[in-house]
């Protein structure tokens, strides 16, 4: 009973926040609504006892990805009026996608009517069961190669992004740290003996 109340409360907030993402006039508000979406999705995952995934969702998406996203959106000088111009042009495509999603929902419910329990509750896990350990055990045994492959792909993406954007422009007054570290005292400080001037 309590689980149902929690589910519907957080699901309502989630849907509301999702509507907020597309409806708000200010892009920064949209990003923040998206953050709220992720937080609520994490709570819904907690309700089906996927606490590792829930915490990682908050840690990775909310804590890192969305921070950078917010960063970029704040820096962009977006003209909101031009963004809203294309609404009628894209409306048919949006309607089509909405229709497809609704058909998919209906399909899931239809499968359920056939007797397959796709939306059934989760059986409670035994005491001391650690979600994190279970995910780790599968990830590093059965799926070790796909897992490592995904990591390598990400690494290549990082290296590529840096090598694409890193360039040395002439005339920049950047600091060369190794030169700064290599400086000795005698390069910078000179002791001079100043003659004392006459009595004031």
């Amino acid at each position: 009973m309590l689980t149902e109340i929690l589910f519907y409360t957080f699901a309502t907030v989630l849907v509301g926040a999702a509507i907020g993402v597309v409806m708000s006039r200010n892009p920064v508000h949209s990003v923040l609504f998206l953050v709220l979406c992720f937080c609520n999705a994490a709570v819904l995952w907690l309700l089906i006892e996927a606490e590792f995934l829930a915490i990682v969702l908050v840690l990775v998406y909310v804590g890192a990805v969305m921070v950078l996203f917010l960063f970029v959106v704040m820096m962009l000088d977006i003209n909101i009026e031009t963004l809203r111009e294309g609404f009628t042009r894209y409306a048919p495509l949006g309607g089509l996608i909405a229709l497809i999603v609704i058909i998919e929902f209906y399909y899931v419910l239809w499968v359920k009517r056939l007797g397959l329990d796709v939306t059934g509750g989760v059986a409670p896990m035994p005491e001391g069961y650690s979600n994190t350990e279970a995910v780790g055990a599968v990830l590093y045994t059965d799926y070790v190669y796909p897992f490592q492959l995904a990591a390598v792909v990400l690494l290549i993406a990082i290296v590529a992004a840096i090598s694409l954007t890193m360039r040395r422009r002439p005339g920049l007054k950047t600091q060369d740290v190794s030169m700064q570290v290599a400086v000795r005292r005698q390069d910078r400080v000179r002791l001079v003996k100043v003659e004392v001037e006459g009595e004031q």
Binding site: I55, G63, F71, N131, T174
Partner: protein, 365 residues
């Protein structure tokens, strides 16, 4: 008394545990807030004496002359609460008001999974460490929003700096924590402390403070504390505040109660949290440093909250000491230290630790 006991027994068990949990939560919150109040005083006193001043020495507690200065935090709180709260004309009102709460709530919620003694922890969850990492990564939103919503260039510059810095140092911090996980084999903070106890079962012969994680994970310990200082935006990494260049950074437009909740309370609560985590993960938490050196029956060999408190105080003192000693880092130096020094150090030591685990050296024997 019997009457009260009778009333208590008459309450259903569900409600009983609910009342007890609520009381425990309120107790921990009050303790954290009091600790924050007195660490602001400690900061001013310690830095005062380091700079050959006396620090606050006027407002005495209970009117006793010997306690002069001890009531300073209460005077400060009353002053801040009574001050007028201004909202800039061009600010984004809603976000401007929400931002202090977004900083405050994670800073206080994280205390739910901290084990204070072998028996007492509010929520003994398996993924405790991940929970804390996730929550502390949320605090940066408050800082960014405070800077953005104020619609002021100094505040915005402070927010940008703070965001870049927090993202950079979170990685080093995460890697340092991975080392602790490899040593303890658990994400539960209580288990992490128990794995550091000088027990024959843990394969540790050094005893007492020599068996704690800091010994085998020394580079990670140092990296963790440095990134902790950077994560809390404290000196010498306080470019987000940078009063000499960008006035006061992200909280320049805040005043009164919102300033207290946005800046003072979360900053010090996070400092104490980082200190508590460093004590739990690397210095054996509530374990006694004399365990194994003196007979176990002695009082000073027993694990208790007292040891954790002492270790937290020591870390807070180091925080203040660092602030009184070092000048502020330049921004590019901060980024260089985070990405090019701390992260490689943690990666190398994780590899070393992996080899130690593989060869069953030290505590992994």
């Amino acid at each position: 008394m019997d009457h009260l006991n009778g009333m208590w027994a008459g309450i259903p068990a569900n409600l009983q545990s609910f009342i007890l949990t609520t009381l425990a939560v309120i107790g921990v919150m009050l303790a954290v807030i009091m600790a924050v109040a007195f660490s602001t005083l400690a900061e001013r006193k310690v830095i005062g004496y380091m700079q050959l001043r006396r620090g606050p020495n006027r407002i005495s507690l209970f009117g006793l002359p010997i306690l002069r200065g001890l009531a300073q935090p209460f005077a400060d709180v009353i002053k801040l609460l009574l001050k007028e709260f201004l909202i800039p004309a061009n600010a984004d009102r809603k976000l401007f008001l929400i931002a202090p709460l977004i900083v405050l709530v994670p800073a206080l919620t994280a205390w739910a999974v901290i084990p204070f003694s072998p028996e007492f922890v509010l929520a003994d969850i398996n993924a405790g460490l991940l929970f804390i990492l996730a929550l502390t990564s949320l605090g940066v939103y408050g800082v960014i929003l405070a800077g953005w919503a104020a619609n002021s260039k100094y505040a915005f510059l402070g927010a940008m700096r703070s965001a870049a810095q927090m993202v950079a140092y979170e990685l080093a911090m995460g890697f340092a924590i991975v080392g602790v996980l490899m040593a303890a084999g658990s994400l539960n903070l209580g288990e992490i402390v128990r794995a550091q106890a000088a027990l024959p079962a843990n394969g540790l012969s050094l005893g007492g403070f020599g068996s704690w994680n800091w010994f085998w994970l020394f580079p990670l310990f140092i990296v963790y504390f440095i990134s902790g200082v950077a994560e809390t935006n404290r000196a010498p990494f306080d470019v987000a505040e940078g009063e000499s260049e960008i006035v006061a950074g992200f909280h320049v437009e805040y005043s009164g109660a919102a300033f207290a909740t946005l800046f003072a309370l979360p900053e010090y609560a996070n400092m104490i949290l980082i200190s508590a985590l460093a004590a739990l993960m690397f210095l054996g938490g509530w374990l006694s440093p004399f365990q194994g050196y003196v007979p176990d029956a002695w009082g000073i060999a027993q694990p208790s909250f007292f040891w954790l408190f002492l270790k937290i105080c020591a870390f807070i003192f180091v925080y203040l000491w660092i602030r009184a000693t070092f000048p502020r880092y330049r921004y590019d130096q901060i980024m260089r230290l985070g990405w090019k020094v701390l992260i490689p150090v943690t990666l190398v030591w994780l590899a070393v630790e992996g080899v130690m685990v593989w060869l069953k050296v030290g505590p992994w024997a």
